[in-house]
Symmetry: C2
Subunit: 125 residues, 2 copies
Amino acid sequence: MAVAVADLVLDAVGEPNRRHLLELLHGQRESTVSELVDASGLRQPQVSKHLKVLANAELVSVRTDGRFRRYRLDGRGLRVAHDWFASFDDVWHARFDTLDELVSTDPRPDQPQEHPDDRRRPRPT
Amino acid sequence: MAVAVADLVLDAVGEPNRRHLLELLHGQRESTVSELVDASGLRQPQVSKHLKVLANAELVSVRTDGRFRRYRLDGRGLRVAHDWFASFDDVWHARFDTLDELVSTDPRPDQPQEHPDDRRRPRPT
DNA sequence: TGATTGCATTCCTCTAGAGGAATATATAAG
DNA sequence: CTTATATATTCCTCTAGAGGAATGCAATCA
């Protein structure tokens, strides 16, 4: 047991195509591999491999149905990930007097961000 | 603009040492690079590089203080990640009649998981 | 001024892991 | 039984990106 549950989950989600598969599964009660292949544009072996990683992290579950394998989202892994980020909620719940500036702007420079609540420029009255 | 904001964030968090840095920053109002080097066991260049990735995803912000660089968590990126997972909350909020089995077990086999709510084995009365 | 400290950056190497092709396996259909 | 379909698996290749060493660059100190 080298990795914790959250590590398994967050490692799995740290890949764009796997996130895409999760999004595709969301809204569908369940999907076969072929359906996911069509919807994702990935090839079948890649889809199967990504699904294996997701299943290992309990982000999806499978049901065998004849020669089909029906995948669906698994709340267990999703909840683990959610809770990991939720534990940081005190960070964005902290209220600063410059919060209005923070939410009204969306700068995304290549340079490291300044601390948003250190932008204490006096308001241009 | 090839990657969305959520992709930047979730890619950044998809690395164990970066997650560790976020956890270290959590609870500290801010930390210098040296402090994070000591606390993480990573070397200074790696810490700086990871912090750069985190800053790009707006997961941390920096303040320059003399020859120090004071890093702290940035709620903007953290919230983006949180919201991405929160959008799946309908998955784990769905209630099944076998939920009690689900929460009372924690199997983690190497094999893909069965659908938890398909384990309809008749209870061994 | 020169030395030191704190950090960023550059260059190099190396490996995990993502994708591709081919194949294995199992079920269903004929 | 033979063939087709659905999926998993194996093997190979290739690249992104993580770590290491050395260096650059400011700011501080002596």
